[in-house]
């Protein structure tokens, strides 16, 4: 069961941010293959900014706190991933602030975030982007919320979905310039989404 008590919000955010920072070299490596090589550094900068103001963020009501971390990413990341991840969390936070409850409405709240990413990037699943992880994870949340093994299922979906981006042809973002040459590499944005989702699952498993 997923619970997001205010008291654990700070530690959950920190766990996600720290894991992304730890993965920065890997994200950079992936992005050097098919992008401009800045995804790791950009995500690291955004996550460090979140950690530096975590105390102020975590005292806010849950929806506001998640919106605030989204805006922090928008303002500090410095690449396309800032507005993309930022829009996800702003919409996620707005859904909670608008009355959706955790854990029961998690799938709908997550769906609001996914819709914001799709709209911001004018993209959809199948185009070798972070949506290729977020959309399958949303489907798992829709199908399996309430199951005792939800977190394991989410984790597995995210991991499998990243691998599935390798054979995809990029049609969005910098990788699209590579055309056929983008095939064979997993997408850095899909990988960072997976890193974040895994970190959150791990933290929730350890604290539930």
């Amino acid at each position: 069961m997923i619970r997001l008590e205010p008291a654990m919000l700070a530690s959950l955010i920190a766990a996600g941010a720290e894991q992304v920072i730890a993965s920065a070299p890997e994200l950079t490596r992936l992005d050097q293959a098919i992008g401009d090589g800045d995804h790791g550094a950009n995500m690291k900068r955004g996550c460090e900014a979140i950690l530096s103001k975590l105390d102020a963020i975590a005292v806010l009501p849950t929806g506001q706190a998640i919106k605030s971390l989204g805006m922090t990413l928008v303002m500090t990341v410095g690449g396309a991933s800032g507005p993309l991840y930022g829009s996800f969390f702003v919409a996620f936070g707005e859904a909670i602030a608008g009355g959706r409850g955790l854990p029961e409405d998690l799938a709908e709240i997550f769906a609001a975030g996914v819709a914001a990413v799709a709209s911001r990037g004018r993209s959809r699943a199948g185009e070798k982007t972070m949506l290729d992880v977020l959309v399958p994870v949303l489907e798992t949340l829709r199908d399996d919320t309430g199951r005792p093994d939800l977190l394991q299922r989410v984790r597995a979906t995210a991991a499998e979905s990243v691998k599935r981006t390798a054979p995809m042809l990029a049609t969005k973002g910098r990788a699209s310039f590579l055309g056929e040459r983008s095939v064979g590499h997993i997408d850095p944005g899909a990988r960072s989404s997976c890193v974040l989702i895994h970190a959150i699952c791990t933290h929730l498993e350890a604290h539930s």
Binding site: M75, G82, P83, R174
Partner: protein, 130 residues
Amino acid sequence: MSDTVGIVIVSHSQDIAKGTADMVREMVGDEVKVAFCGGNPDGGLGTNVTLIAKAIETVWSPMGVAILVDLGGAEINSEMAVEMLPPQRRDRVVVCNAPIVEGAVMAATEAAGGSPLEKVRSVAEELSAS
């Protein structure tokens, strides 16, 4: 000086943004307000919503503002900066789908003649018609 559409140039590289603005001033003159920004919040290659918002503010005109961008992140970050403007200004700022250097020169030339925002945008975007 009567109002003209303002021009904002957003590149991942501050050098490219500045060079493009220099070309606009050289080729079009000073009657059009031009602002530029480039670089991520640490000063490396990238774009920065805060700097884009400031650049829009610098050249703000009731006629509106046309933004020229280089690559994907510049476009998305520019759209984000526009959305964060006060609602009455948001509709008067457009991100042009045009090559940054040629688009900026064409947009500024059109703006210098006093054309409205939509005309400035369409002239810049003719360059990317394929």
